[in-house]
């Protein structure tokens, strides 16, 4: 018998060997039902798209009104360019905040400022090899006064494309200056934002893609005090200021500041009386000889350090 004929005979056997189960009718109906649901869902979506512009505009108006009148709404619905899912919200405070994931080789790609409801939102985007980074890189944010500053330390980062956007950040009401801080560690970027008003801040972190939103809120109270700062001479942005900071690494109160001439200095501490500052400077100079070259500078609440 030829193979073809055999196959022909086999066909019957093949048909018999596969019984058609009764459940098949149910399966077909389930498939159709699922399809009907899917089609209805798609149709609904299309209909929503077709809502006329007028209706859309009135909804928008309604939305704007409710956002402005309901505090809860305002908190929940920032009108800011967020694409990811919420990871955490750190409360408004002046305490240091920390979060994000350990990454390597990320880029602090973009920074932008959105003003809304008397608050300013700093939005920071991360990327890795031109793609969006899944999580925000590890960040530490630190609040300081004299002048009012917010210091950002972002780790696992080797690029800082966002620096190009710094000029635009100064457009807002609160941000007086934003500048990069010299950092000897090449897997970290630091930058500092100077505000000319007292403020508290809130950090909201998102993932997929990783984004950070730092919301700045003006505080009504303002103190008019004078401080006496123990500070170094000014140096241009570069390794020298980085090394000087490194020498004072164990001093927790140290910080890097930009002076009025766009140069940088290290401040080790400040006090509200000149005597206290002098005492401290002398005692520190024993342990850190470099501090003997430091000076005491008198500054007001919003004063930017002088060039020295």
């Amino acid at each position: 018998m030829k193979v073809k004929h055999k196959l022909q005979n086999f066909k019957e056997d093949y048909y018999k060997s596969i019984d058609i189960p009764e459940e098949i009718d149910d399966c077909i109906m389930k498939g159709v039902e699922k399809g009907m649901q899917e089609r209805a869902r798609k149709n609904f979506k299309n209909k929503v798209k077709k809502i006329s512009l007028g209706v859309a505009a009135s909804i928008l108006l309604l939305f704007t009104v409710s956002v402005n009148t309901m505090p809860a709404f305002a908190n929940a619905m920032h009108d800011i360019p967020i694409a990811g899912q919420l990871v955490r919200v750190l409360d408004f405070s002046e305490a240091p905040q920390e979060g994000g994931k350990i990454t390597d080789g990320s880029d602090v790609e973009f920074i932008s400022l959105v003003e809304k409801d008397n608050k300013e939102h700093i939005v920071i985007n991360f990327s890795q090899d031109i793609k969006e980074e899944e999580f925000a890189s590890h960040y530490e944010i630190d609040y300081n006064e004299y002048p009012y500053t917010l210091n950002f330390k972002i780790s696992g980062v080797r690029e800082f494309s966002a620096e190009d956007e710094f000029e635009k950040m100064k457009d807002g009401n609160m941000i007086q200056d934003i500048y990069r801080l010299m950092t000897l560690d090449d897997s970290m970027v630091r930058f500092s934002i100077t505000m000319d008003k007292p403020f508290s801040y809130q950090v909201t972190e998102y993932k997929e893609p990783g984004q950070l939103v730092v919301t700045l809120e003006e505080k009504p109270e303002s103190k008019e005090e004078t401080i006496y700062s123990i500070r170094s001479k000014s140096h241009p942005y570069g390794e020298k200021i980085g090394i000087l900071e490194e020498q004072l690494f164990s001093l927790d109160t140290r910080r890097m500041l930009k002076d009025e001439d766009e140069e940088f200095l290290i401040e080790v501490d400040y006090f509200n009386s000149k005597e206290k500052a002098e005492d401290k400077k002398n005692s520190l100079a024993e342990e850190y000889p470099v501090i003997s070259d430091f000076v005491i500078e008198k500054r007001g609440t919003n004063d930017i350090p002088k060039s020295y």
């Binding site: 066909k11 093949y14 048909y15 098949i24 399966c27 389930k30 699922k34 399809g35």
Partner: protein, 175 residues
């Protein structure tokens, strides 16, 4: 009512026409699904999923006369994806079904033929099943599987030859 009219109605959103079309082809799509996944439960899953996919993509079927090849194509794709996502499971089932068939089939020759068929490469087997059992033309099979017609022809005749060699070899061994 001809298939074409029914298909046209179904495309326009007539659910009854669609259900009728699938109903009258359910045995065919079930057998094809079964020949891939080798067990009842999975074959039923494939039928359900293929029905769903056919329903939601019906508007993409431009020529009603190709409904059958189109439906089989969807069924095969669904089955192949199903196997991909349940690899280990199907492998075990495959063995079991073979064993049970040995018990079921009484005609030695048929067992041999069945085995010979199973020994073929999946693509060759598909073509033989579609051509010899489900009655598709080689041209239609080329549409379904997305191969050039000549490839389908080559695979079909190669498959037949392999089965023949396999069967003859079997006889020789037996003596």
């Amino acid at each position: 009512m001809t298939t074409e009219i029914q298909v046209q109605k179904a495309v326009k959103g007539d659910e009854d026409s669609f259900v009728n079309l699938i109903q009258s082809r359910k045995e065919k799509i079930y057998r094809i699904a079964f020949s891939y996944v080798k067990n009842k439960e999975d074959a039923l899953d494939v039928v359900q999923e293929a029905t769903y996919k056919a329903y939601i993509s019906l508007d993409k079927l431009k020529q009603p006369e190709y409904f059958d090849t189109w439906l089989v194509k969807i069924t095969i794709n669904t089955a192949v994806n199903y196997i991909k996502s349940n690899k280990k499971y199907v492998f075990m089932e495959n063995k079991e079904v073979r064993d049970s068939r040995h018990n079921k089939d009484e005609i030695v020759e048929m067992i041999d033929l069945n085995n010979a068929l199973d020994d073929l490469e999946q693509k060759d087997k598909e073509i033989i099943i579609l051509k010899s059992f489900e009655g598709f033309k080689l041209k239609e099979i080329s549409e379904i599987l997305g191969y050039p017609l000549n490839t389908v022809k080559t695979k079909f005749y190669r498959g037949l030859k392999k089965i023949k060699d396999n069967l003859e070899g079997g006889y020789n061994c037996e003596g």
